[in-house]
Amino acid sequence: MSFQEKSLWLLFVSLIGIFGCYFAVVIPAKAVDVMPWHIGLFIGLVVLLVLIQILGSIAVAIASKLSGSTAGRHDTDERDGLIGLKSTRNGSYVLAVGVFLSLSLALIIKGNFAFTHLLLGFWVLAQLVEIGSQLFLYRRSA
């Protein structure tokens, strides 16, 4: 497994973990509007996500160095670019659907809680689709 794939798996798993925790705590509260503690929890978890990413990336880089899998002179090339573009396109479809549904929901449901969290949920889903697409394409043409 290449360095890119390991980094993508790290991002994929940490996104699911962090935002899974966030939604598991916030959604059962069934608030009408976004509360200050929602924002505090969100910021705290995003900071945690960034820390996990930094420490995880360092660990993956060290592991790759030790196993010699980063021996090449070129880290990325045209295939990585193509995989990135296709994955971003897939993620953007999901995000576009999410934006449309969130705006529709905002017209129907009172308060900003549902709108904000549906939009956030679709953003997370779009990220997961993008990363998942990259992982799939790397595996398919590995």
Binding site: R73, H74, D77, R79, R140, S141
Partner: protein, 74 residues
């Protein structure tokens, strides 16, 4: 993603053998791509750009059609 549906085949494995069994990593370094990309091209899972195809042919010192073959009807 640059996939030809198996229509484009290549002789990279054979050419590597005939050129002193150079490794995928060595070929990748000389062409300017990653080892994973050379592996994908060699396994017919990824069709490279024309530029990379020419660079691979240049490394082996052969014309392009000795490295890549198009098996389509059209």
């Amino acid at each position: 993603m640059g996939k030809s549906g198996g229509l484009i085949t290549n002789m990279i494995r054979t050419l590597r053998f005939h050129h002193g069994e150079i490794t995928q990593q060595e070929l990748a370094d000389r062409v300017g791509v990653t080892r994973q990309t050379v592996n994908a091209i060699e396994a017919n899972k990824y069709s490279p750009s024309l530029e990379v195809a020419f660079r691979i042919a240049r490394v082996f010192g052969v014309p392009l059609d000795q490295v890549f073959q198009y098996d389509g009807d059209a």
